[in-house]
């Protein structure tokens, strides 16, 4: 049996730090903490312990020698023998596969194959492929994610073809990609949109094409983009659900809350940014949900349902 989780995690962290400690370098504690996923206090504590580690006979020439101050560590004598990254463990392969698939790389993607080729013999990439699936479409959004990530780092404008889900319109736009994020298994890019002349958030799975156009942009210093708008500033709709209907949760409808019962069914209050987003969600309840107010969302539900009805009738007419 292995050590207790706390000890094993700390040992794992300490060994993960070793390849980053090169003689003569001064490193930020915050950066090292980021690399091994802990607080700066924990990494400082780990480094203090590492400074006691070394090889027999544990004289000064055979100990790892580190000078740790408030924010940095200076490496005087680096570790011997374990100064290269070790292969990925099974758990690390699982995390990499899951992360790459979640942002749109297919399980068979060349990138994932190359990464898993660095797995430890005790890891089992084949078993992983048969037991873990982070569900992406073939030809998914991995390449789009990579294009936008590189453009965001290099501050390069990108031309995208974007499908607006609520209205079904497709448009070409030039955006300044500021920040990528992931929420509920969906990747987003927050960007300045030249066509709109304002900040916009785009879902990556609705970007049909993304091409960097070689033009530089300046990112405003005070940008604080986010995927989820401040729901407290949004208008609120009231939606009544029929008795027995499965209610949405805050995972699907951010900021929603359940009102006290009023007659039959359950009334939910939900903030919304655009009426079509909420209207499509309500229409998908197929009559088990009714927008009570405001009128603009009621109208949008009616339009969405009526339009689809017309499309079906045209197709079968």
């Amino acid at each position: 049996m292995a050590s207790r989780p706390g000890t094993a995690e700390r040992t794992r962290r300490m060994l993960a730090l070793l390849p980053h400690l090169h003689r003569g370098e001064t490193l930020s504690l915050a950066w090292l903490a980021t690399l091994v996923g802990c607080s700066t206090e924990e990494v400082a504590d780990d480094l203090m312990t590492l400074a006691l580690c070394g090889l027999p006979p544990f004289d000064p020439a055979n100990l790892i020698e580190l000078v740790i101050d408030e924010d940095t560590v200076s490496v005087i004598i680096e570790p011997h023998g374990l100064n290269r990254p070790v292969r990925f463990t099974h758990a690390e392969c699982r995390a990499l596969a899951s992360a790459l698939e979640e942002i749109g790389y297919a399980p068979e993607s060349d990138l994932l194959e190359r990464l898993l080729a660095s797995a430890s013999p005790s890891a089992a990439p084949d078993e992983l492929r048969r037991t873990l699936l982070a569900a992406t479409a073939p030809g998914g959004t991995g390449d789009i994610f990579a294009t936008l990530a590189e453009a965001a780092e290099s501050r390069e404008k990108v031309r995208i073809v974007y499908h607006t889900g609520s209205t079904g319109r497709t448009s070409a736009r030039v955006i300044h990609p500021w920040e990528l994020s992931n929420r509920h298994g969906v990747s987003y890019v927050a960007a300045f949109c030249e066509q709109a002349g304002a900040e916009r958030v785009f879902r990556l799975d609705r970007i049909r094409e993304a091409v960097a156009i070689g033009e530089h942009f300046e990112c405003p210093a005070n940008v604080a983009p986010g995927v989820v708008p401040d729901t407290s500033a949004l208008p609120v709709a009231r939606v009544r659900f029929a008795p027995g209907a499965t209610l949405p949760d805050v995972y699907d409808w951010p900021g929603m809350s359940v009102e006290a019962g009023e007659g039959e069914g359950t009334i939910v209050r939900v903030p919304y940014q655009g009426p079509h987003w909420l209207a499509r969600r309500v229409a998908a309840y197929l009559g088990e949900a009714e927008v009570l107010e405001p009128a603009e969302v009621r109208v949008a539900v009616r339009e969405i349902a009526g339009s689809l009805l017309q499309e079906i009738q045209d197709g079968h007419g």
């Binding site: 479409a137 992931n182 995927v227 989820v228």
Partner: protein, 324 residues
Amino acid sequence: MPDASERQVNLALYLASRRTCVTAAECRVAGLGYPDGQDDAAFGRMFERDKDTLRAIGLGIEMTHTAEGEAYRIDPLATFARPIELSGAEIAAIRTIAATLADDPGFPFRDDLVLALGKLETGGERDAVASAGEARVSRDGETGAAAVLADAIRVRKTATFTYTNAGGATKLRQVDPYGIHVRSGRWYLTGYDHPSGEVRTFALSRMADVSVNTARPRTPDFERPENFDIRDHERLPFQYGSAPFVARLRFAPAEAWRAPRLALGHGTIETGEDGSALWTVEAASLERLAEWIVDSGPGIVPVDPPELVASLEAHLRKVVAIHG
């Protein structure tokens, strides 16, 4: 006395520094941190534990038999990764993944992801162009369970949990976990369900009190069927149900590019002369498929079966009527 982590790091450095194998007895007296005066049995247990910990971290500790007994060394080929060639876009993507998912409480493997990405040494600060997104709904229960169950799949130990089905009924379940998948940020477990004697899929969001059998941790509780593949069990929302049928949906020409992304590898897609896409897919619930069509639209209409078309038309008329 050094703490356990200090002793284990010393052991790792010691094994990595030796060109020849060393015995447990040599490790014991090398000053690595094994307590003086410890009896042989206690030392043996501690040494085994330390080796297990280092192996779990990824160190390839090789054992050979010598005249002095078992001896150990670190196998460099099995231990150290070769540099991985990555393009600029891939490095940027990986750095961005680190920031979008590694700090994300909705991602169950974030600790492992951080350490894996640290090994790639892609360099650079990683907080400039990505975030996990604020106002994230905390799903520690679900993601914590995903991490626990993923480990149980690996070591083949039986899991127990209470499960509330869509009808609101709660039952205790004992399941041999075979595989796990995520769709739209929600995790699902597939495994052999002891009470029903069937392989079933469970939504982690409906589980509570997830625990894994800790008895005999080195001994698997079950064998996963050799031909098991999680892809055979990952389904679209409308593919769960008791009345299977084949559906055909038409994507308008302007929407045809979305078909493969929405199909997630299920069914077949044919492109029409006008640029439209015809998706033929297995389904098991008329109502869930009708919901999916409305939710995923516009530009997607049902073609077959007629019951689906009629059902969706009737429901849409109802939606129009109550919002009239």
